[in-house]
């Protein structure tokens, strides 16, 4: 073998064998028959995908439409979508502010934004629950000021999950946006003003198109882990509202229906790959 091949082989082989191959096997599992206590029987079956849409009657085997799983899927997309939008609304001004600071302040701000990302996600989620609880500091402060009499239900609902997703993934939005704004040539703005553009016009016709790759990268980095998120719905939702990640996890813990879990995971992977493919193709077209 040639030297570059030898150097690359261990990393590439590890990823292909222990990540790509397992995902391929998972896809295969999604069309097999579930065994009773987890695992599969090697017999082809479309049951996992049928189950996603229909409920099979245990007596006469007829299929009835069941929107429960579709609703969980839709809720996951919606929650992740709202979190992405919120991250964008908070992240764009933040990234803009950081990128326009003098060099010394800039690295301090960048460090402030980066460090929380590396703090254990489970710990961050517990910390958020701690302040959102009925007896938490937010509710205590609201009551002592007299804004509310009873604690507001901040924890164990969709609001808490959304807040959890935003705090989990906000750095993912800020960093690519920062990188895009950092590269932005501010003399283009001078040119826009010289051509009598006002601030709004300059922002929408000059700044935004140039920032688009950063916006798309940030959006994907929030949206993709958001749909499959496990800890935020589990801990902040109090197990009442499921998202796709929890539904997948459950099939390998209590419910023990591996093919159904594999089918859900295959759908999540497919959504991810389609999103990445669209972005990659658009990037390639813009580069050409």
């Amino acid at each position: 073998m040639r030297l570059p091949t030898l150097l690359l082989a261990p990393a590439i082989a590890t990823i292909l064998i222990f990540m790509a191959l397992p995902i391929a096997i998972t896809t295969l599992y999604s069309v097999l028959t579930p065994a009773q206590y987890g695992g599969v029987i090697w017999q082809p079956s479309a049951e996992a995908y049928i189950r996603l849409l229909f409920e099979r009657d245990i007596f006469d085997d007829t299929l009835a439409f069941n929107p429960d799983y579709l609703q969980i899927l839709w809720r996951s997309v919606l929650q992740a979508g709202i979190a992405t939008l919120l991250c964008l609304i908070i992240g764009l001004p933040t990234a803009w502010f950081i990128a326009t600071r003098p060099p010394g302040q800039k690295s301090l701000w960048l460090m402030l934004v980066t460090v929380p990302y590396w703090v254990n996600l489970l710990v961050r989620t517990i910390a958020l629950l701690l302040i959102l609880r009925d007896e938490g500091p937010v509710n205590l402060a609201l009551q002592s000021v007299g804004l509310t009499d009873a604690p507001l239900p901040l924890a164990y609902n969709n609001f808490a999950i959304g807040l959890g997703l935003v705090s989990s993934f906000l750095p993912f939005m800020i960093l690519p946006l920062y990188a895009a704004i950092e590269r932005f040539d501010f003399s283009l703005l001078e040119a826009a003003y010289d051509l009598h553009a006002n601030r709004r016009k300059a922002f929408f016709s000059v700044v935004l198109p140039i920032l688009r790759p950063g916006l798309i990268a940030g959006g994907l980095l929030v949206f993709i882990p958001g749909i499959g998120s496990y800890l935020a719905p589990d801990i902040l939702g109090g197990g009442k509202t499921l998202m796709l990640g929890n539904l997948i996890g459950m099939q390998f813990q209590g419910s023990r229906n591996w093919p159904f879990g594999a089918a859900l995971s295959t759908i999540l992977m497919a959504v991810t790959l389609v999103a990445l493919f669209i972005v990659a193709r658009r990037a390639a077209r813009e580069a050409a």
Binding site: A11, M111, V115, M269
Partner: protein, 266 residues
């Protein structure tokens, strides 16, 4: 005279942006700071401070299960980070220093673990190990963690390599240094900040993982996050706060070290 008032037209300083940035940072830090403060509570409550003490830290250090889980986590993170760093360094040398075909494909594979949602990695690895008949437990954890750590180790190493002057290596070659000598005496010492920085990031990413470890760990190989999660069944206790604060301290120190080392000499 709006036409000549450059401040009004300068969108470098937009009103409210500084406030948003400050609030965003506050939103990221407030919960963590609150949790840390309450880990020093002298009382049993997690909503009322009854004075400060190290009581709950003593409880954490006296707890053997937490100790074992922490040891598992650190050992796992060290092994996985080391394996991932060695492979990532080799891959980065090939990708950055050697001209070759199909670089885009190799790049896509190296970054693949970053694209896959964690829950998918978790259950796919579980299915894989049960299909090939390898049991769950520590070896399975090492393999899974090494795999998803590779891109995190790769990025700082490749970045460092790209910013290094290839002229030094060329000069060594002109002085008849053999490839291995050249690598040992020139490339590796210059690359070392990137390698250390990559190792530290891989270490944290491994330490951070919950979902994959919770699917793959057997009875004796529980990691610290998996153990903390199981402690939550009794609700959030001051002990949970204390052990969580220790994890916050550990990751913060490692990230800052990684950042400082990565920036040094560059």
């Amino acid at each position: 005279m709006a036409l000549f008032d450059t401040r009004a037209r300068d969108i470098r300083n937009l009103p409210g942006f500084g406030l948003t940035a400050t609030l965003a940072v506050a939103f990221l830090y407030a919960p963590i700071l609150f949790l840390t403060l309450y880990s020093f509570n002298a009382g049993r409550s997690i909503s009322r401070l009854d004075g400060l003490s190290l009581r709950w830290y003593r409880a954490v250090f006296a707890n053997e299960e937490i100790g074992r889980a922490a040891l598992n986590s650190v050992l796992l993170a060290m092994i996985a980070a080391s394996l991932a760093t060695v492979m990532a360094t080799a891959a980065a040398l090939a990708m950055v220093r050697i001209r070759m075909r199909r670089k885009a494909g190799a790049y896509a594979v190296l970054n693949f673990p970053l694209m896959v949602p964690e829950i998918v990695t978790a259950i796919a690895t579980l299915i894989f190990f049960s299909t090939v008949g390898l049991g769950l437990g520590f070896p399975a954890l090492v393999i899974a963690h090494t795999t998803f750590c590779i891109p995190f180790a790769y990025l700082p190493i490749a970045a460092r390599l790209t910013s290094m002057d290839p002229g030094l290596e060329a000069a060594a070659a002109d002085l008849y240094a053999r490839p291995w000598t050249r690598f040992r005496l020139i490339t590796l010492p210059l690359l070392s900040p990137g390698v250390v920085s990559g190792w530290l990031l891989a270490f944290i990413v491994s330490l951070d993982d919950f979902i994959i470890s919770s699917m793959l760990s057997g009875p004796g190989s529980t990691t610290l996050p998996v153990h903390i999660y199981s402690m939550l069944r009794l609700g959030i206790t001051p002990e949970v706060n204390a052990v969580s604060s220790l994890m916050v301290a550990a990751s913060t120190l490692v990230v800052i070290a990684s950042g400082l080392i990565g920036r040094r000499q560059s």
